[in-house]
Amino acid sequence: MGVTVRIPAVLRALVGGRAELAVPAGRLRDVLDAIGRESPELVSRVLAEEGALRRHVNVFVNEEDVRFRELLETPVRDGDCVTIVPSIAGGR
């Protein structure tokens, strides 16, 4: 069955215009590795050089922010949905 990765319109230019990607299940780290083999431009903007999630990018597994789960070690099972969303924030 695999995992569905939803790509919001604002990021589709980095994945050849596709709205969804299909990758095998695993840990989130494995999912990002699989995405990176097809779309390295996207993953290089999601992960910092040291391999951690960049501060301004949120990754959700089934609506749950992985920062409140196990970050890159979050399990992603068959049928799960992963969404990558840049954040918009600021303040005084």
Binding site: P8, V10, P86, S87, A89, G90, G91
Partner: protein
């Protein structure tokens, strides 16, 4: 290290349609004492046409994880992702695009802060060509508003005051 950018009062002001500016100022007053945030959509003919209010989730994030999110909604905004993704989809369906990101500052000026720039300049910022409108609310009233736009010549953003114009 970035420093806050103040708008330049000597530059010609940016003109926004009355209806657009009034809606944003009303949003800022209603959100007080928290910051508001939202988007403006437009097209090649009218850059600033529609206002879409978005939820400021900063207080929610702060309550959930105060270490990672030390500010609450009185000191910052965190635009609800579903709100902005839906606004972008709707704009695209209308043949428009996101042309401006707006938010308010409470009890301080309409400068473009270090934090504002930090997010606006991130590699994945979803609307890199958008303007940034900042509204200052002090004592419950809007006291000034300024528009910031990327200026490669200035290696950053240049800000100017905003005045209402024809709808």
């Amino acid at each position: 290290m970035r420093r806050r950018i103040e708008f330049d009062p000597d530059l010609a002001p940016a003109v926004l349609p009355n209806s657009v500016l009034n809606e944003i100022l009303a949003h800022a007053r209603e959100a007080d004492p928290e910051e508001c945030c939202g988007l403006i959509t437009g097209d090649a003919d009218t850059r600033h046409r529609h206002v879409i209010r978005c939820r400021n989730d900063m207080t929610l994030w702060h309550q959930r994880d105060p270490e990672t999110y030390p500010r609450d909604g009185k000191q910052g905004f965190y635009m609800n992702e579903q709100d902005y993704l839906r606004a972008d989809d709707d704009a695209t369906a209308r043949g428009e695009q996101i042309t401006c990101v707006y938010h308010s500052h409470v009890e301080c000026g309409a400068y473009f802060s270090e934090m504002d720039q930090d997010f606006a300049l991130q590699e994945l910022f979803p609307f890199p060509d958008a303007d940034h409108l900042v509204v200052a609310v002090i004592g419950g009233s809007v006291v000034e508003q300024a528009l910031y736009r990327r200026d490669p010549g200035a290696d950053g953003f240049v800000g100017r005051a905003v005045v209402p114009g024809q709808p």
